[in-house]
Amino acid sequence: MQKTTRLGAAALSAVLALGLAACGGGSTTTPTSSGAPAAGGATGEFNGALTAVVNPSDKKGGILKLANAGDWDSLDPGDTYYGYSWNFIRLYGRSLVMFKSAPGKTGNELTPDLAEGLGTPSDDAKTWTYKLKAGVKFEDGTPVTSKDVKYGVERSFDKEVFPDGYTYFNDFLNWPKDYKGAYKSPDANTDSAIETPDDQTIVFHLKQPLSNFDYFAQLPATIPVPKAKDTGAKYKEHVIATGPYKFDKNEIGKGFTLVRNDQWDPATDPNRKALPDGYDVATNVNADDIDNRVLAGDLDVDVTGTGVQPAALGRILPDPAVKAGTDNPTGTRLWYTSINGNVPPLDNLECRKAVEYAADKTALQTAWGGEFAGGQIATSLLPPSIPGHEDFNTWVPGADNKGDVTKAKEALTACGQPNGFETNISYRAERPKEKAAAEALQQSLGRVGIKLTLKPFPQTDYFALYAGKPGYAKDNKLGLAMNGWQSDWPDGFGFLQQIVDSRVIRETGGSSNVSVRDPEVDKLIDQAMEQTDPNSRNGIWTQIDKKVMDDAYILPNVWAKALLVRSKNATNVFVNDAYGMYDYLGMGVK
């Protein structure tokens, strides 16, 4: 069985390579008729769209074609939780604030959208006020008021109706006791959480200080929803647009089309160019097929932005001409290994250091999928695209990143374990890459006498019952645990809080933080939460990153990367750091 599958795959990629040779030859040696004179150069170079706009243009018109290998989790602004969806939703919905539609780090910057400016915090950062722009309308011409924004947040509270979404607002706003959301508590007075003193003003009240609430305000849940048109679970079939595009046809499971929304007023919206006349999105399309079509120019974007499949990877990388038309952004995901200080002898910093030194990071990179599809070797926690990231390397694993055996042995001696020690490493059984990484560690730590035993666990209960349950991890000597984290937005809080704050660890299990227990780190997090000045705040996140690395509670493996293919027909192509993929708001059609 296994063998035939592989044979089949091999045969398939051979055929595909053949096909590509045919197509690729054509498009590189002779200028295609459809291409503008600049086509060859304008396709840009490898990683050209990471920091600059490829094919800049203001030409309006055309239909942008996108495809999704799976289904959208939901098109409902109150029920969607994928980065690509948040990227895309800006086409039809306007939240209070948004990420700038710009290449590189600028994309990480927040800018007002529905609101006139970024939020105004109270001194204690527990109350945030936004003023809405005048003249913003729904697609039916009704003016948008602060009540529609409030209603949007209230309805998203109901996780029975909207189970896909996040719970940031549920968790942080000061809701009345027993509040169950707009549907089940329709008559509740929710002013303790959200006030709308007038149609243009909305005030959020938090349970605790939150210096970065503007990131909350960019969440799609703040996209206004007209109560009269709300159909709950079915609203995603026709979301009432506030952005430059509205839904035309929408068949859940198959795809949808967006057309221009004539009620959108560009005067209220400096952020959107709205170049194409519409969007054509197909869902549940064969993943390899998407790659083929994007490479052939029949499709513009693989909307999920998670990178090409292995088959396409094998065709793109060896051909410089094809590779030049791709980008390889580093996302906001870190793959790492937790080093559990609860499991002796890892309670000793020197022993944890030995692990940091001995690890062969190039082997780990290979295990995660290599330089292009796996990721960039990580030296700290915060990924490069998140503000607060600083380049530092506390425990240099040799100049070639293959591990520093000498230093590791010194550390082991200092730890009182000169001949090494035995412990276990857990990983999610369903994830072959985690297994490969665990094996790579087994191999490289074995060089200094640290013997690892592999312990696979089912992924659904990985945190709830095994690696994430402190008692279990300790009793079963899970000294190391394969782990991964991606933040919901490019911000130190979103990235670090859940994985380094020791207070999120519960004895009952379920936490992603399985190893970092440092009261100083906790204290720093509190400071950051209260610090409303972004620069000072980011400085604190850097400090936290360094502190955790000093503690050697985490062995960073790689910051995940994905290989994206630039559309042949699109203009204004660039990667937005906030999403780690092409910015769908900026893109136009040639």
């Binding site: 089949g8 045969a11 398939l12 055929v15 595909l16 053949l18 096909g19 045919a22 197509c23 799976g70 289904d71 989790d73 939901s74 939780y81 994928y82 309805r155 109901d158 996780k159 029975e160 109706v161 189970p163 896909d164 979404g165 996040y166 719970t167 968790d171 549907y183 709300d230 159909t231 709950g232 679970a233 079915k234 079939e237 068949e251 859940i252 499971g253 198959k254 197909a282 549940n284 399309v285 064969n286 390899d288 097929d289 998407i290 083929n292 079509r293 052939a296 029949d298 499709l299 659904t460 209960d461 379920g510």
Partner: protein
């Protein structure tokens, strides 16, 4: 005859119930036996990083906390009597047959299935016409010219056809005709017949041919074997002795005699295909029952899986019934009792 059909129909309902129970058991009972709690099961149907509370709410909403028999009963009742669904601001009536609401999209399953049926029917019937004509014709010619170059070539191609998986032939055909020569729409698409019959046929051409190739190969082999057998029958000699033209002998007497096994296989093949041409539909991104099934299984969307399984089983059961009825039509010696 009538009592036979009635009895078979009752039996079909029993079969479908058994299929639904087995499917239900695979997806609901087996995980339970493996120790999964209702929360574990619900965890699949909430967002990508749902909190424990969120999962608990979902488990309650999806009814995972009820005893299995109640859950199955609710499903069965929906099919017979319809069901009510709370979509937030109100309650929606899902009329019978209600196959429930998708755990993930939270949309009713039945309209989805109805919506996808024409695609699969178009694909299956179109391909069937091609493969029956091509396969049977090739088989007949091969049998008549047994041992000739044509026979050898046709049978080698047929062997290749039978053994090549559709995702392979499909991908090759896409690379050649779709991306390469750009003869057909890139990657495949579907246009409803009523929208534009010409585009409908044009869009389906490649899937039809690919699918038909796979089946035609088998039919050619089957027909050839059957023809070799029947052409040696005494009644063929009789037909010739009457002075019938050779073509009439071959078609009216020979092929007719070889038809029964072909018809049987055809009925079952078509029944299975109507339940979803999984590989073809995924290869060509055709939004049919098969694509729906594979997507549903991939997402473990149980109501969708149940619905699609039942529809597929329905077609198989009906195909079986039709085949048995046709048997009696084709072969008068068969008695339906």
């Amino acid at each position: 005859m009538v009592t036979y059909i009635i009895r078979r129909l009752i039996w079909s309902v029993v079969m479908l119930s058994i299929v639904s129970i087995i499917t239900f058991a695979i997806f609901f009972l087996v995980p339970r036996l493996a120790g999964a709690t209702s929360e574990d099961m619900a965890a699949r149907y909430v967002g990508r990083t749902a909190s424990a509370e969120q999962v608990k709410v979902a488990a309650e909403k999806l009814g995972f906390n009820d005893p299995l028999i109640v859950q199955y009963g609710r499903f069965a009742k929906g099919i017979v009597a319809g069901a009510d669904y709370d979509y937030g601001p109100g309650v929606e009536r899902c009329p019978a047959p209600c196959f429930g609401y998708s755990f993930l999209t939270r949309l009713p399953v039945w309209p989805d299935l109805l919506d996808r049926l024409p695609v699969t029917i178009s694909l299956a019937l179109g391909a069937a016409v091609i493969w029956v004509i091509a396969g049977v014709a090739t088989g007949v010619l091969s049998a008549l010219k047994r041992g000739s170059f044509f026979d050898r070539a046709a049978m080698s191609i047929a062997l290749a056809g039978v053994s090549m998986p559709i995702f392979f032939t499909g991908m090759v055909s896409l690379v050649l005709f779709s991306y390469g020569l750009k003869i057909t729409v890139a990657g495949g698409t579907y246009t409803p017949f009523l929208t534009n019959p010409a585009t409908w046929a044009y869009d389906l051409l490649l899937p039809w041919i690919t699918l038909a190739f796979l089946y035609a190969a088998g039919y050619a082999r089957l027909t050839r074997a059957g023809m070799l057998e029947t052409m040696n029958e005494d009644y063929i000699r009789t037909a010739r002795a009457k002075g019938l033209r050779e073509r009439t002998v071959v078609v009216k007497h020979g092929l007719r005699g070889a038809l029964t096994p072909i018809l049987t296989i055809f009925g079952l093949d078509l029944g299975l295909l109507l339940g979803g041409a999984v590989l073809t539909e995924s290869t060509y991104s055709l939004p049919g029952i098969g694509k729906y099934a594979i997507d549903a299984i991939g997402r473990q969307d149980l109501p969708q899986v149940m619905g699609v399984t039942l529809v597929a089983a329905f077609f198989v059961v009906v195909a079986n019934l039709v085949v048995d009825l046709l048997y009696a039509v084709v072969d008068p010696r068969v008695r339906l009792v």
